[in-house]
Symmetry: C2
Subunit: 243 residues, 2 copies
């Protein structure tokens, strides 16, 4: 039988999921941060990741609609504000378009999401569906990958600036904001999960939700690796790098 | 502007989608049918494909629930009967378990779907969601990959029997039944689509639905190739071949 964990034990188990399954361990990230990718491969990463970025506010809106008190909703709505911005050209999605634009990708092409890998679409849509269909506790827990993102972002910005002449501090502005937003969001979500996961079953659901979310991130890099690194099988209809 | 196609032109366009995007073109199938895979790699294919097989009746049930006349429902319900069988041990899912069992995989492990690739789950779930959420026309059109399955099945059975000593006519019984079921189902679905896609928009939706379904099948083989052929990156938690 599964036993009830203390809040500290639960946090430890959640952190263990990140240490063993978060995508900082994926070979594609090592290539990306280590300067081992061509510009075309970095374009493919940014293009596909756009679909994830653009879907996050819809995911958060389905969760916002199910939070039953104003304090929680005030905290959670900030995520939507951060991504969608206060006006045109602001927010995380707009900053991601600065990255894809800086990499030479046409904005209409990026926003149309026509060239993304089918695996990207399926993984991201699985996340949106998961948050809409599972319990609020599981939906919140699935966001906890943000506990681990600061470490990957610091490496990414330093590594990409050092290794690629086609990226600049300005095109990487997205990540600068995430360094403060992600820990704030993660602190709230972790406190929520520790408070609301009160039975062994709920605790296991929270751990499984974070595992699921790690899979969502991992699958996206698997698909990029397969299509654009080795063996380099781009699926029919997906983006083909020109440089 | 998109123009209205004749029924024959629409069928031609649908067949073109299959000729250019159906998974008979995928490198993994060439390895599978050509006897180039190890038993462990064939196990991985059968294990993952089980999740697809087991999900099909749920997909068909959501569609059955939205068909508005008895004749269409009588035709469509046969698919559920074919997959689920008339009693325990019969039907397509049971025949797929004969294949996985013949390959040496434990039935509880297969049915639990714990070792499948996350990409398999996301792709199959995307198909189930698509059929539940899109128009009936698009849902029916997404089944039209069955127009192309007889050619792949004939190659598969002949190739696998000739090349692998760990498969037999009996373990491949699933495919024998599909050789007659799939054309019957495809004939009905194709006639339905040709009759009900009456505007240029509906015709484009039908073509897009079949393209989507080809992506669902393609992604599953991409993920198998990436995990088990080259570079051989098995995601955390997925099946690891022992032979």
């Amino acid at each position: 039988m599964t036993e009830l964990l203390s809040a500290a034990q639960l946090e430890e188990r959640l952190r263990h999921v990140g240490e063993t399954r978060y995508h900082h361990l994926h070979p594609f990230h090592k290539l990306l941060h280590g300067g081992k990718l061509t510009k075309g491969q970095v374009q493919a990463w940014a293009l596909n990741r756009y679909y994830y970025q653009a879907s996050i506010p819809r995911k958060d809106a389905t969760l916002l609609a199910r939070l039953d008190n104003a304090a929680d909703r005030r905290a959670w709505r900030q995520r939507i504000i951060d991504h969608d911005g206060m006006k045109e050209g602001e927010g995380g999605i707009a900053r991601w378009l600065m990255l894809t634009g800086g990499l030479g990708l046409d904005q209409d092409y990026v926003e149309g999401c026509r060239g993304i890998l089918p695996a990207t679409r399926f993984a991201v849509d699985a996340y949106v569906h998961f948050v809409a269909e599972r319990s609020v506790l599981e939906a919140v827990a699935s966001s906890l990958t943000e506990m681990f993102s600061p470490m990957i972002i610091a490496n990414r910005v330093a590594g990409m600036l050092a290794n690629y002449d086609f990226v600049s501090q300005q095109t990487l502005a997205y990540f600068q904001n995430r360094l403060t937003e992600a820990p704030r969001d993660a602190d709230f979500a972790l406190a929520y999960v520790k408070h609301h996961a009160r039975t062994p079953e709920q605790q296991q659901q929270a751990i499984a939700a974070l595992t699921f979310k790690c899979d969502v991130l991992w699958v996206q890099l698997d698909a990029l690796y397969h299509a654009y690194v080795a063996p380099g099988h781009v699926p029919p209809g997906s983006f083909v790098p020109q440089e």
